[in-house]
Amino acid sequence: MKKSNNNVQADLTRSMTIDNQLGMHARAAARIVRLAEKAKGQVFIEKDGISVDAGSVLDILTLNCPMGCTVTVRAAMAEDKDVVESIERLIKNKFGEPE
């Protein structure tokens, strides 16, 4: 894993599209929450300028992210870079769902 400390901002904010067919549904949201819970500070998910707590399934669901939309994962503390990356991997892997 490549580490670059000169651009902290970029490392703590990752944008990606939701590619799985069902969008960010409850089970998917639950998996995000499990990862976000490992963070030391707060982790947020943003869509269309609205930012919600990645530690709440309900909050994530209210963001309403169907397939094809773009979300941004953001952490408040630099130590939580791993958490942001693991959430990114999860979303890019389509939450491990079969097609």
Binding site: A30, V33, V57, L58, D59, L61, N64
Partner: protein
């Protein structure tokens, strides 16, 4: 909680469902029949209240975990639903926000939880994506689980006479009323509604006391008030003194003893003193009520209302779902008649299909057979389910709201189509099912002789017939008292329908509320009514009345009745002739012969 001097306020309403209940009032808003205790807690108790909530959540988590462990291997993949619920239990929006509310607002856990859930529901209701909307159900399930575990540890409430409550509402829709959880509700009272409103019908089927049409009960009663409701007399006493409570308690016992007594003789046949047998049948709304129909001595199901499955779900029920519930009823009735009425619903009530705009006057609008003729797909699905279920018992098909011959012909044509396509599919079904109609529209009364040629039986739906004939809305408390089954015009109509049926050699029954008053029995029997169908709890009393009279005597009595010009005059002679008999019946057991 100590009360100042008791007020003993008496409110008069309409008796919607018999029985007496004594308990605490619980105020509900329309469309919100969720029952949660609400009270403030002292600052010193906040910590223990939070602990109580945490414990309930922990217990709920353990329960869910146990359920997941107990699932057989092949269902394991479905655990994600429970998994999601487990996550919701711990979710900040529910867990932390409830604790914050307990601390900040100093309210009890149940109340705080309900507020948190309402907040989430509010946000979710604005999201259109169906898969997200569906999660509301999970949230509700989870909160119910927590609530259950909270009440398990509930502290004793000193002022509670009974833990169950009496619902106080401005109005309850049929959907609200079917949501009532019997273990929490011992009766209900409403501002609106009359004896024959759906709310009353449902209260009677649930066998809990109800007083309706109280006009301003919701303004005069508050959650936590002690109430006595008497659904037989149509009376509510707010904040009764000790003496009144004692008196009503013994009256309650007397009523229950009487009910038990009546039920014991319910299995005797309904045969008049001079040997004429009348079939006494049950009206049911849900498949589960069949048990009550049999327990109360019903000879069959005279009216199986089928709207329930359409009201309680998002989207329409499938043919399979309908078939299963009809078959269940047919099987339990073991060859006794089961009369299934096709959908008697207004376009405004069904699903989320907004194609049909809201109607100004739904009672005269697109409902029942008219609706089914416009939405033939819905109608065909139901007909197919009924025809298939008919293989499992003596199932009859009954069409509501028939106003003339054209509708019968059109309905029969659709029935033939359904038979043909079932035939093609190779599905097992009953081809020669008996088809009858509800006679409830005045034009059908006028045409009864013609219509009788085309159908296998008549069932007179007196509730609607009275409403349409006297031109009154039975749900309107200002005219509810004009709803008079013994109106001379109504009696003439029933008599002419019965004569037309007899001339054509078909059976005629009455399936309206009119059938369940013992005072009406000596009038209806000599008219030539073959069957009376009613809410199951009325069956034993009506059977007893039938056993107490002679058809021959009633024939001459009917002649007198038909000469009377007003309801008052008719009531007087019924009272004179049969009042004592009915009074005696109500207080003594005549003994099992």
């Amino acid at each position: 909680m100590l009360h100042e001097a008791s007020k003993n306020i008496i409110l008069k309403g309409i008796g919607g469902s018999p029985g007496i209940a004594i308990g605490k009032a619980y105020f509900v808003e329309k469309g919100k029949v969720d029952i949660v205790d609400k009270y403030r807690i002292r600052p010193g108790r906040v910590e223990s209240e939070v602990k109580r909530f945490r414990n309930a959540v922990t217990e709920s988590k353990q329960e869910l975990a146990r359920i997941m462990e107990g699932l057989p291997e092949e269902y394991r993949e479905n655990t994600y639903i429970l998994d999601a619920q487990l996550m919701l239990l711990a979710d900040k929006k529910i867990y932390e926000s409830t604790i914050a509310r307990i601390e900040k607002e100093q309210i009890n856990s149940e109340w705080a939880l309900q507020k948190s859930v309402d907040d989430v529901r509010e946000v979710f209701s604005k999201i259109s994506a169906p898969y997200i909307k569906e999660r509301i159900n999970d949230i509700v399930h989870v909160s119910e689980r927590i609530l259950r575990n909270l009440t398990g540890q509930e502290e004793d409430d000193i002022s509670a006479i009974n833990k169950r409550v009496i619902l106080v509402a401005h109005d309850l829709s049929p959907a609200d009323a079917t949501q009532i959880q019997l273990e929490k509700v011992m009766g209900f009272i409403t501002d609106l509604g009359g004896r024959t409103s759906h709310t009353a019908i449902i209260a009677r089927s649930l066998e809990i006391p109800a007083v309706l049409g109280l006009e301003d009960a919701t303004r005069r009663i508050h959650t936590g008030d002690i109430l006595i409701i008497d659904g037989t007399k149509g009376m509510v006493i707010v904040d009764p003194d000790e003496e009144t409570v004692t008196r009503c308690h013994s009256e309650k016992e007397r009523f229950e003893a009487y009910e038990a007594m009546v039920a014991r003789s319910s299995h005797l046949p309904a045969e008049t003193l001079d040997g004429h047998h009348i079939r006494v049948m049950a009206n049911i709304e849900m498949a589960q009520e069949v048990v009550s129909a049999i327990d109360h001595g019903g000879d069959g199901i005279g009216l199986y209302r089928t709207e329930y499955l359409y009201l309680n779900k998002k989207g329409l029920p499938t043919e399979e779902e309908l078939f299963e519930s009809y078959r269940e009823v047919a099987e339990i009735m073991k060859g006794r008649p089961v009369t299934i009425r096709t959908l008697d619903i207004g376009a405004d009530k069904i699903g989320s299909d907004l194609k049909w705009s809201r109607e100004v006057n739904p009672a005269l609008g697109l409902r029942a057979i008219r609706f089914c003729m416009k939405e033939t797909g819905i109608f065909k699905t139901q007909l197919a389910a009924i025809l298939r279920a008919a293989v499992y018992g003596d199932v009859r098909l009954m069409i509501p709201m028939i106003s003339g011959m054209a509708e019968i012909i059109a309905a029969r044509r659709i029935l033939t189509d359904v038979c043909e396509s079932l035939d093609k599919e190779g599905v097992v079904f009953k081809k020669d099912i008996k088809v009858g109609i509800m006679v409830e529209v005045p034009s059908a009364v006028v045409l009864a002789d013609v219509l009788a040629e085309e159908v296998d039986f008549f069932s007179i739906g007196t509730n609607d017939l009275i409403q349409y004939s006297i031109a009154i809305d039975r749900g309107n408390e200002h005219v509810a008292d004009m709803y008079q089954p013994l109106h001379p015009a109504i009696l003439r109509m029933i008599k002419s329908v019965a004569e037309a049926a007899r001339a054509a050699g078909i059976k005629v029954s009455i399936c309206g509320e009119m059938a369940c008053s013992p005072f009406h029995v000596p009038i209806l029997l000599p008219m030539g009514i073959d069957e009376l169908s009613m809410n199951p709890i009325s069956i034993p009393e009506i059977k007893r009345m039938i056993r107490a009279i002679s058809l021959e005597d009633c024939r001459s009595f009917l002649e007198e009745v038909m000469k009377k010009r007003t309801v008052r005059e008719i009531l007087n002679i019924v009272e004179e002739e049969f009042g004592e008999k009915i009074q005696n019946m109500a207080s003594y057991e005549p003994g099992l012969k």
